[in-house]
């Protein structure tokens, strides 16, 4: 966090000087959105929800926090990649969420207002999408909650053919930097939620099930999902 702030400050000063000289400064590289950037394939796109922010945001005291993006994330995926999760059944660590229904996770509606999200209790919780058959997963695009700037803790996304996630588990995203969810320590950065969602490069991980974990967020202790999109090719 400290290193990032220092770098950011230096960049800002440098940008001021460069601007005054009539030169275009380098783009800020701190935008969240895509977790990596393959160099070949076709661009992935989706319908993005409108911005709808409510109220005064709460402080986010998270190390290495990546700020919200200002544009849609970009990712190249293999040709023939399609959305394979819409309408697929969803289970969770809680059978009955506190708010909403688990089916909202794959209902295709990504809006930010009341009645569009599912809320699970505090602690480490997960939702799991059953793709119906094994697939080669190119990307997972997730919107936790975007009507308030916040960051979710210990976001871990896994793919497996085992519904219990005991064997053959591929972890495609993990920002649990201190392993507090006991799923292994991750090196991905925590990020601020936005209408652009977080687009994760799954790099062709194979499996029938996609499981997403989190452990509360910077505004409250609860876990939320508006929508999860899984892109890939069924096998």
């Amino acid at each position: 966090m400290k290193k990032q702030h220092i770098a950011s400050t230096v960049f800002t000063i440098a940008a001021l000087v460069l601007s005054s000289c009539g030169k275009k400064p380098p783009q800020d590289s701190t935008d969240a959105g895509a977790s990596s950037a393959p160099t070949s394939g076709v661009p992935l796109s989706t319908e993005l929800p409108p911005e709808l922010i409510e109220g005064t945001p709460k402080p986010m005291d998270v190390p290495n926090l990546v700020q919200a993006p200002v544009k849609a994330p970009e990712l190249l995926v293999p040709e023939g990649t399609t959305l394979i999760s819409q309408g697929k059944p969803v289970t969770g660590s809680e059978e009955s969420p506190l708010i909403g229904e688990l089916s909202m996770v794959t209902d295709g509606d990504k809006q930010a207002g009341e009645g569009y999200y599912v809320e699970l209790s505090s602690g480490t919780q997960w939702v799991q999408i059953d793709l119906g058959q094994s697939a080669e997963v190119a990307a997972v695009w997730v919107w936790h909650f975007h009507s308030q700037k916040r960051a979710y803790n210990d976001v871990v996304i896994q793919v497996s053919d085992d519904a219990e996630f005991k064997t053959g588990v591929s972890t495609i995203y993990n920002n649990d930097y201190d392993d507090s969810s006991k799923l292994g320590k991750g090196s991905d950065s925590p990020y601020v939620e936005s209408r652009f969602g977080m687009l994760v490069d799954a790099k062709g991980a194979k499996g029938r099930y996609v499981r997403l974990h989190s452990q509360g967020n910077t505004s409250d202790e609860m876990n939320h999902y508006i929508e999860v999109e899984v892109y890939g090719k069924t096998l």
């Binding site: 709808l52 409510e54 109220g55 945001p57 009955s96 969420p97 506190l98 207002g113 009341e114 009645g115």
Partner: protein, 448 residues
């Protein structure tokens, strides 16, 4: 009017801020404030009246407080009601009763001790009065009501029934605010003579948009009409309608203008306001308001400026700044916005630092710089910070105080009468802005 409070010591503040005390120690019991007598019991049986956004905030804060039993949840929106019931079940392991109608709840439920009222502002007064008359102690969100008459009715009901009625000006129980008032302003007269106050809540336009909802979950029109809403948009966005709320000066400003009045201990003598719908042109309420209050205090006149903007977050967020001849205290619910600045001519604060009342901040920047004319500028004030911070959700200490008072262990920090005395001037801000005229505040304006 004389607004008083209990004293919080430096040791108390640091202990409270670290979360190392029991809820019962939060307050003493000054004589003028209210505490229930002889009602101690193991569990306090609570009804949650209104489980929208603010109801959830209060519930989350209460979930940290031991000794509560959430017996019933009441909300006209099935979506909120189901959510409230599920959250209570998850917390306490069994399911509370759910109601859409408060009258049915009060007629059916036996053994309730207290109600937490977090309904829209125009329902605060009717719901609070009903609960008090049903024999319940009430914690009601601020603003007390959308009209001053509604607020007056709440004070009368509290005093007639003898029940407790705490109003949700949660800063009144915040150790940071109480330490600042009791130890720094009163105890050490750190500001010297307070001459001016400046307060603001600047909220970004992106954070001030209408609240959306899933139309598949909409409340039936006849139900909305029964509870005073013309449609679902009005139900979700009641804060923007004149008949249902006081608008931003009430929603946001009331928290901070309450601090002006509490810290000074007197109400203003006049209010002069200007407001406009300069961005959200279809909203009934102003989207920005600027207000000047004039006070006469025992130390002299005080002129206070307050602005609430729902069109920009620039300008330092939200804080109240008490500007005196020897120091300025800028205080906020957020520690990041809280700083104390010593004027260069003020007596040394080394003793306050060594005794742990203040922390010295990093050295202030020099006043002189290449783009400044030295003779025009004063020396930069030294910056100091408070010695501790609040480690709980902001509403928790205020709710703890309420439940301690229900148990007879504390006095309320913001009962309905004291809240009314502080809120009354706020009801005259919008009329001043609408008429473009200053209003001299008399007993008729400010009394119950």
């Amino acid at each position: 009017m004389k607004m008083e409070t209990s004293v919080i010591s430096r040791r108390d503040f640091i202990g409270k801020a670290a979360g190392g005390i029991g809820a019962g120690l939060v307050l003493g019991a000054p004589n003028i404030l209210r505490a229930a007598q002889g009602e101690a019991s193991d569990k306090i049986h609570v009804a949650l009246v209104g489980f929208g956004k603010q109801g959830k905030v209060l519930f989350d804060a209460m979930s940290n407080i031991p000794g509560l039993h959430f017996q019933a949840v009441c909300d006209i929106w099935d979506y909120n009601l189901k959510g409230g019931i599920a959250k209570v079940r998850a917390l306490q392991g069994h399911t509370p009763k759910g109601y859409a109608d408060i009258d049915e709840m009060l007629a059916t439920e036996k053994g309730l001790d207290a109600a937490i009222v977090a309904t829209p502002d125009f329902w605060h007064s009717p719901h609070t009065v009903k609960c008090l008359e049903a024999g319940l102690h009430v914690y009601c969100e601020k603003m007390m009501a959308n009209t001053i008459e509604g607020a007056r009715a709440m004070v009368r009901a509290m005093e007639k029934t003898g029940k407790l009625c705490q109003i949700g000006h949660q800063r009144r129980s915040n150790p940071r605010y109480r330490f600042t008032l009791e130890q720094l302003i009163k105890g050490n007269r750190i500001c010297g003579q307070i001459v001016n106050i400046n307060g603001q809540w600047n909220r970004a336009v992106s954070s001030s948009q209408d609240i959306g909802y899933n139309p598949k979950l909409a409340i039936k029109p006849e139900v909305l009409a029964r509870y005073g809403f013309k449609d679902m948009h009005q139900f979700m966005n009641w804060r923007t309608y004149r008949d249902l709320s006081g608008g931003p000066i009430s929603d946001l400003g009331a928290h901070q203008i309450d601090i002006f009045n509490w810290f000074l201990g007197v109400p203003p003598k006049s209010v002069f306001a200007s407001g406009g719908n300069d961005y959200f042109k279809t909203r009934e309420h102003f989207d920005n308001v600027m207000t000047i209050f004039d006070y006469e205090t025992p130390q002299g006149g005080v002129r206070a400026f307050y602005q609430v903007l729902t069109t920009t977050s620039a300008g330092g967020g939200y804080y109240e700044s008490f500007m005196g001849t020897e120091a300025t205290i800028q205080i906020s619910e957020r520690s990041a916005f809280t700083n104390i600045y010593r004027e260069s001519s003020a007596p040394s604060w080394d003793g306050l630092v060594s005794r742990g009342f203040l922390k010295r901040q990093a050295a202030a920047p020099k006043a002189q710089s290449a783009d400044a004319i030295a003779s025009y500028e004063s020396a930069a004030p030294e910056a100091y910070a408070l010695p501790g911070d609040l480690s709980k959700p902001p509403h928790q200490p205020h709710l703890e105080n309420f439940f301690d008072a229900v148990r007879g262990k504390a006095a309320l920090t913001c009962d309905a009468r004291h809240a009314f005395e502080s809120e009354a001037p706020i009801y005259w801000v919008n009329p001043s802005a609408l008429s473009r005229q200053p209003i001299n505040l008399t007993a008729e304006h400010l009394s119950v």
